[in-house]
Amino acid sequence: MMASSYNAKEEDGHHSGSASHGGAAVVKSKKPDNTAFKQQRLPAWQPILTAGTVLPAFFVIGLIFIPIGIGLYVTSNNIKEFEIDYTGVDMNSACYSCAKNFSWNSTTSCLCTVDFTLEQPFESNVFMYYGLSNFYQNHRRYVKSRDDSQLNGDMSALTNPSKECEPYRMSEGLPIAPCGAIANSLFNDTLKLYYLEANGTRNEIPLVKKGIAWWTDKHVKFRNPGGNANLTAVFQATSKPVNWRNPVYELDQDPENNGFINEDFIVWMRTAALPTFRKLYRIIQKKSSTMPTLPSGKYVLDITYNYPVLSFDGRKRMILSTISWMGGKNPFLGIAYITVGSICFFLGVVLLIIHHKYDTRSTGADIPN
């Protein structure tokens, strides 16, 4: 500021003088610019954590979180869910014999039937899941063991799958389609649900198998090689995965749900995050507005027991569940919101008391020293 008053003429004179005597000529002053940034005087907001700011924040958080939590909790509680374990660990359970004798090498299916009762009717669409426990689909080598190009219908990848698929890449000199460990371990139990009417007749409940996979998966990520025309011919030079009974082109009769775009297959290929997981199996669609989709009563679950899990101490479950806007039944989030909200509120109160107590004792001691 002071500098601005002294005239430039003089300055020039000096500099020419200093330049002429042999030194490196300095043409302009090295004076720094007086800008807010360079002088570190940028206008700044200073959020100081004082009682004045922290206390209201705590109360506000508490007041927002508790209602959200209650809402979530109620929503979650309204969701109906039924779960039945059909692994057959127990001697008394229906699938005990199947579970005992079954292995990947079995050629014939083992059938077992489980009865169960729904206490409450299930309104709206019901989602049918199969659940696996203790199944580490997130194992590092397992997750990697797939070839996305092959699944996308790439012909070259079909005949020459990615190295990542090893050791499930080639079988008897032929490339495996679909290759890799994930595909190899495809869940292949078949579940059928019957409503047991009072007279004892079994009423099969229609299970919809379309729409269980992500739309993008079904239509973008997964494609059959060479379109959907004659899958048998396309997969001619390939071999089925070792654990599979049928080749990939025999997964379903429906050509829209066969081959790589079979939705059960697609769902399986989306590896679960945690060792206990469920996967959408079928959807039971609501038929009429008056009748519940699944009325309360007795049901029978017919299981074609193909998938051995006992060797690694796994469990298989069938889950029926309605869903809400926030997904399946899970009271956790609601409880979490309520808890955190309450804690905030509580801490706020504690701070208020402390602050009040100390503040009255020492007034005006804001600046130490």
């Binding site: 003089e10 007086n34 996305d148 992500w214 995050a273 979490a336 701070l351 100390y358």
Partner: protein
């Protein structure tokens, strides 16, 4: 001593030359290995010195081609880089790889390239400055055109002839062959090399001395043999072989070094000996050192801890994996995939492989971007410090320079400051303030006002209009000269009115021509009373001279005054010159007479009887120029004209009746002659005091107009020019603390000794008190005034004289000559001889010279002290001066006690230290707690050296600093620094509030710094401006150079260069504090951030069979640190201000924060780690439970976790950020936007790529889920909840305890 050793050097060199020449011809090649042969380039058409470096300099490290390999090689010297490359390469091993190998290389490549770009930029800057220097002009002789032509510096070759003009900078090391100076001398200023501003004389090579006509390069046919290029500035050996076979020795007096400036010599011609990188200046120019800051050292410890944590969690997971595998036994589950070879891995092998895999997955724990981020932040910090207007000095148009880029944060952690005094605390501008002559004080009020003006001008430039009026006009009491002077000083003022800064600037430019000659030092306003007396006196003398009356009739008061000024004028080593023209040395040349070498010779030529007969000697012979005795001698005591005195005494008889006065016609019109000389005369002084006194005398019209080795010419009012025959000069030395000249007074013809020295010494050497009432009174009064001056912080000097009778002189001379010619113990004898002469002096008066403190020094010292910094002053100055200045700059307090340690022997020193230690303990320790508490509250002096390490020797109560000053002199310091005493010395010194080391050598300075630094484990800062401070600056943790009067040496060695001492306050208290707190917080944040992120992955291992799986997509994993979370922390690290600059300046005690490393204590690392673990637990388990037993897939679950982690980390930074500017907002918004943009693009880009995650449309689907938003709301809040709560609790507690 020096002369002797040089002589032997020369003879040695000559001898070596001779023998070499004998062997020479045949073994030319062999010889060239040891010496360099330079021939003139005019001799042959092709270049005769082809294999010597040319003058082009290149300080750049890289060329375009070598950049990549060389830079990479250098970068791999940093261990972290090697580590990261190792990890990236590990990814290429299929068994253990965790990520796509190419992707894993990305961060390493990014980091390496950022550093490489930085290096490239630095190198480019060096290149630019090289080019600038290479393209400077100089005159080089062209054999084609047969004249000197302008060429660039870089075109200069060894063997070229260069013509140098006044004020030109030397482009290369040049052997001086011709000079326009009548004495064949060339003056150079070596400020850029060694920081000494006084002129040095260089001589034309002996064989070219007699060349009277202009030097013609074409007649030059000699060959120069000299030593190989080396970096010793003070050594040059060689010889020149002429065509005739004659051989002459070359020494450093013949060599002009690159970078020096030619002064006072119109023209000089020389031949280039060393060029470019082989010049001594370039060989001395070492690159900047790499220093590691304290913070970085501390950080490295924690990086080491990170490595340990990494190894621990990897081993833990590896063991877990082994056990997990083991539990399945032989039954292999479907999800446990075999190795690609299809072999079944044993659990142990799997565990080992997994360990390596996890090191890759968890590598983020060792923050790869930390190092590069720190560098970026430091560069930004350096930039901001550079740009600070408060650190810009208008006068010199210079601002702070950070020469070390990587220790900015050390500035915030200083505990000890070691300061030089002269030029650092003071301006190194000696200003004459007051004097007392013959017991009468002349207060020089007008002069004081004038000086005050300089200070005010600086501060209130705008308001200086009024000052012109305030200056009182001198009344008619003064003579016309004095009126003129007043006018002159007024004109200075009106000049200032237009702009004092411009004036000051000009002054600083002028002072580049001549040292110590700013207007402040030169334009002294005389005291009217004294000026009147001087005039009176000289006119009386003039009258007397005309009427041939004896001078003794003059009243003693008046004669004292005139003697006083004569003493001021001649009792020094000041050389007179004019800046832009060669000196007008018009004088007759007598043939050289051989100097008196033996005592026999002396006795033969000198007998006392002859002396007695002569009463009225002529001074005509004083014109004899005895050049041989003058050659480069810096001998302690020399008698340049002893021999000529004798000669003269011989001639005396014959020339009895010759005119009494000097042959220079007396100029009666003083004014005219004044005008003639004014502006032309410049005084070249070795020390600023001398210059100050000469300028002071000049203000009283008693001006020095010429100094030759044997004669001093003084111009007095009315009397005109008088030539004093200089018989002896007994130079200044630190033991005698005085200097004397023996002259023959031209008016009275008496042999007079003028002595100037420290008051303490001179007072003891005065004539015994009973000599006369008047003298007694004078001594008494003068002593009074001296005390007064000292209290004002002035440097005091006493002036005394002594008149020798011829007999006395002859007697002394004989002894003295004996001493001079003695072989053994010459120094001692000369010293004794000097002592014999300087007795029974008659006190004339005393002067008070002010070494003006720089602006704001006392305030700065006070502020730094309140900031808890211990300030030690290490100076080469004498004790009295140092103490005076220490008082002046409030380093010492008149109220506090002062311990003075002056010991003559090791034992005495030990005893003294022991005593003072007892004294301190007895006096302070009993009541130390009380006093300390009191001192703390009253003075804001934090009395505790609160460093845990410093307590190692004193594990009892914290060591206290008392209100005590310690003064120690150089000799005692040497004893105290001995191994046996250093601990005791430190103990004493540490308990003193201020320590003053006087008369310390550069080596001692650095030893003191080293001692304190190593023993007390404290951070030290050394600040100095001269070459003598270089060693100290280099030893200290942070070296600060003042780019002031004494050249660039200190600046070159320093880490920071300041224009003024007072800027240290802002540099340390504000920038140091900021830099430290910013970096400390940023480093802690980095550790937190990475630990938090890695912990997320670690928790997941419990749910994936410790298989090294990651739920976070590898792209996010790798770019999270580098991109998504990088910018906000850089902005915060650069701009955050925990306390405003104003507050920091107002409350210096806030600096203690950094000294005690409060922002980054070792436990804080662990606190942050715990916080990170807590936050990661929250960020992991809230999504875990929210998605438990659902159909979520691996990466769809990982995406919200990544997002949550990002939010949490950024919000955490937000809480840590104290000041939010728009840049903080912008960077955070940018980071979040960047993450979502990248994620969305990435998830939409390719349905088949990015195996294994293949996150096609994942983010898009997540954004449609309400659950995602619900998670984003609760998780960061929960994760960060403890922090504000904890802070608030602390605040409350803090408030409560206060």
């Amino acid at each position: 001593m020096t002369r002797e050793s040089r002589d032997t050097e020369i003879t040695k060199a000559a001898g070596a030359g001779a023998t070499a020449a004998v062997r020479g011809r045949k073994k030319r090649k062999n010889k060239e290995n040891k010496t360099r042969t330079v021939r003139a380039n005019t001799l042959l058409n092709d270049h005769p010195n082809p294999h010597y470096a040319n003058n082009k300099i290149k300080t750049t490290k890289y060329t375009l081609l070598s950049f990549l390999p060389k830079n990479l090689f250098e970068q791999f010297h940093r261990f972290a880089n090697v580590y990261f490359v190792f990890i990236a390469l590990l990814n290429f091993v299929p068994v253990v790889n965790a990520f796509q190998p190419e992707l894993a290389l990305a961060p390493v490549v990014f980091i390496l390239s950022v550093t490489a770009i930085k290096d490239l930029w630095e190198d480019y800057r060096r290149h630019r400055s090289d080019t600038e220097i290479n393209h400077m002009d100089c005159l080089v002789y062209s054999s084609m055109e047969r004249r000197y032509v302008e060429k660039y510096w870089k075109e200069v070759q060894v063997g070229d002839f260069i013509r140098l003009r006044c004020n030109e900078i030397l482009p290369a090391d040049v052997l001086l062959l011709s000079s326009s100076d009548p004495d064949r001398l060339c003056h150079i200023e070596t400020a850029t090399l060694d920081g000494e501003t006084n002129l040095k004389q260089r001589q034309v090579v002996r064989s070219f001395l007699d060349l009277d006509c202009e030097f013609d390069p074409f007649k030059y046919h000699s060959v120069i043999e000299c030593e190989k290029p080396n970096n010793d500035l003070n050594r040059f050996r060689g010889y020149i072989v002429h065509r005739s076979g004659r051989r002459d020795v070359l020494c450093k007096e013949n060599l002009l070094l690159r970078g020096c400036t030619i002064r006072n010599t119109e023209e000089a011609v020389g031949i280039v000996i060393y060029a470019g990188h082989e010049t001594k200046a370039m060989l001395n120019n070492n690159g900047p050192r790499y220093k590691r800051s304290k913070l970085e050292r501390q950080m490295n410890v924690d990086v080491f801890w990170c490595v340990i944590i990494l190894l621990v969690i990897c081993s833990f997971a590896a063991v877990g994996h082994g056990l997990w595998m083991f539990q399945y036994g032989d039954k292999r589950p479907v999800f446990d995939v075999l190795s690609p070879q299809g072999t079944n891995l044993s659990p142990i092998m799997s565990a080992i492989y997994l360990f390596l895999t996890l090191i890759i997955v968890f590598q983020v724990l060792i923050p790869i971007s930390l190092f590069v981020s720190i560098e970026i932040v430091k560069i930004c910090q350096v930039y901001l410090i550079h740009q600070d207007m408060d650190l810009y000095d208008e006068e010199t148009d210079s601002h702070l320079q950070c020469r070390a880029l990587n220790i900015t944060e050390d500035l915030g952690q200083m505990q000890y400051i070691f300061s030089d005094k002269t030029g650092t605390l003071t301006e190194n501008k000696m200003v004459f303030r007051r004097c007392t002559v013959a017991g009468v004080e002349y207060s020089h009020d007008a002069n004081a006002r004038r000086l005050a003006m300089y200070q005010e001008m600086d501060s209130e430039e705008e308001e200086c209009m009024s000052h012109g009026g305030t200056l009182p006009r001198r009344e008619s009491v003064t003579s016309h000269q004095s009126a003129r002077v007043v006018l002159r000083s007024q004109s200075t003022k009106s000049h200032r009115r237009t702009g004092s800064r411009a004036e000051a600037k000009r002054a600083s430019i002028l002072s580049k021509h001549t040292a110590f000659s700013s207007p402040m030092e030169k334009d002294i306003t005389p005291d009217p009373q004294l000026l009147y007396k001087v005039n009176e006196c000289s006119s009386q003398m003039d009258f007397m001279r005309f009427h041939s009356q004896p001078m003794s009739q003059l009243s003693s008061d008046l004669s004292d005054i005139i003697d006083f000024f004569i003493a001021l004028t001649i009792c020094n080593t000041v050389v007179v010159s004019s800046p832009n023209q060669p000196r007008h040395k018009v004088r007759m040349r007598f043939e050289l007479k051989s100097p008196v070498k033996t005592i026999e010779d002396f006795i033969k030529r000198f007998t006392p009887s002859r002396l007695t007969s002569g009463s009225n000697s002529s001074s005509s012979s004083s014109l004899i120029t005895n050049r041989s005795s003058n050659k480069g001698c810096s001998s302690l005591l020399s008698s340049p004209s002893a021999e000529s005195t004798l000669t003269k005494l011989h001639e005396e008889q014959s020339s009895h009746l010759e005119p009494t006065f000097s042959p220079v016609p007396p100029c009666y019109d003083g004014k005219a002659s004044w005008n003639l000389e004014e502006g032309e005369l410049r005084y070249e002084a070795e020390s600023p005091d001398e210059a100050a006194l000469v300028y002071a005398a000049r203000a009283y019209k008693c001006s020095l107009v010429g100094r030759l080795p044997d004669q001093v010419t003084v111009e007095l009012p009315h009397l005109g020019k008088l030539s004093f025959e200089l018989l002896h000069t007994l130079g200044f030395d630190s033991t005698r603390k005085r200097m004397s000249v023996v002259v023959k007074h031209p008016l009275t013809d008496q042999i007079t000794v003028y002595t100037k020295g420290a008051d303490s010494v001179i007072m003891d050497l005065l004539k015994p008190l009973d000599t006369g009432k008047r003298q007694k009174k004078i001594i008494c009064r003068t002593q009074n005034y001296l005390n007064l001056y000292a209290a004002d912080g002035l440097r005091t000097l006493c002036i005394a004289k002594k008149i020798l009778s011829k007999e006395e002189y002859a007697c002394w001379l004989q002894c003295h000559l004996e001493a001079e010619t003695a072989i053994q113990g010459r120094e001692e004898l000369l010293f004794q001889s000097a002592l014999r002469l300087e007795t029974n002096l008659q006190l004339l008066g005393a002067t008070g010279v002010e070494d003006r403190l720089q602006d704001g020094v006392p305030e700065t010292v006070a502020a730094l002290r309140r900031a808890g910094l211990q300030i030690w002053v290490l100076t080469g100055d004498k004790q009295e001066t140092a103490v005076n200045i220490a008082y002046a700059c409030k380093l010492l307090d008149p109220e506090e006690e002062m311990l003075t340690l002056n010991a003559d022997s090791q034992e005495a020193c030990a005893l003294l230290l022991e005593e003072s230690l007892h004294y301190i303990q007895a006096k302070f320790l009993c009541s130390s707690a009380d006093q300390a508490a009191k001192a703390f509250h009253t003075n804001f002096v934090p009395c505790e050296i609160n460093s845990s390490s410093s307590l190692s020797s004193h594990n009892t109560s914290p060591f206290l600093v008392h209100r005590l000053g310690l003064v120690i002199d150089g000799r005692t310091l040497a004893y105290a620094l001995d191994k046996t005493l250093e601990d005791k010395f430190l103990e004493v010194a540490r308990s003193c509030r201020s320590v003053l080391c006087c008369r310390s050598t550069p080596l001692q300075k650095s030893m003191v710094v080293k001692l304190v630094r190593n023993k007390l484990k404290v951070m030290t800062l050394a600040i100095g401006d001269g070459a003598n401070d270089v060693s100290m600056i280099q030893v200290a943790d942070v070296g600060v150079g003042i780019s002031g009067q004494e050249g660039m040496q200190a600046v070159m060695a320093s880490d920071f260069a300041l224009p003024r001492f007072r800027y240290l306050q802002k540099l340390l208290l504000v920038h140091g504090h900021w830099c430290y707190s910013r970096l400390a917080n940023m480093i802690l944040y980095f550790f937190y951030k990475n630990a938090m992120f890695v912990a997320l992955l670690f928790w997941y291992q419990f749910y994936c069979g410790f298989s090294g799986s990651a739920m976070i997509d590898q792209w996010y994993l790798i770019f999270f640190n580098l991109m998504f979370s990088a910018f906000p922390q850089l902005v915060t690290g650069t701009l955050d201000k925990d306390v405003s600059a104003e507050t920091l300046q107002r409350l210096p005690q806030l600096y203690v924060n950094g000294q005690n490393s409060e922002e980054y204590k070792p436990y804080m690392f662990w606190m942050n780690m715990i916080d990170a673990f807590y936050q990661s637990l929250v960020c992991f388990f809230i999504p875990y439970f929210a998605y438990a037993d659902s159909d979520v897939d691996l990466f769809t679950w990982g995406t919200p976790i990544t997002t949550l982690a990002l939010f949490t980390i950024l919000l955490h930074l937000g809480i840590e950020t104290k000041t939010w500017t728009w840049m903080n907002w912008l960077s955070i918004i940018f980071s979040i936007t960047l993450f979502f943009t990248v994620a969305l693009c990435y998830n939409a880009s390719c349905p088949t790529c990015f195996s294994p995650s293949n996150p096609y449309w994942t983010m898009q689907r997540q954004l449609q889920e309400p659950l995602f938003y619900l998670l984003c709301l609760i998780t960061p809040v929960t994760a960060l909840l403890p922090r504000p709560f904890g802070v608030q609790m602390c605040n409350n507690y803090y408030n409560g305890t206060n």
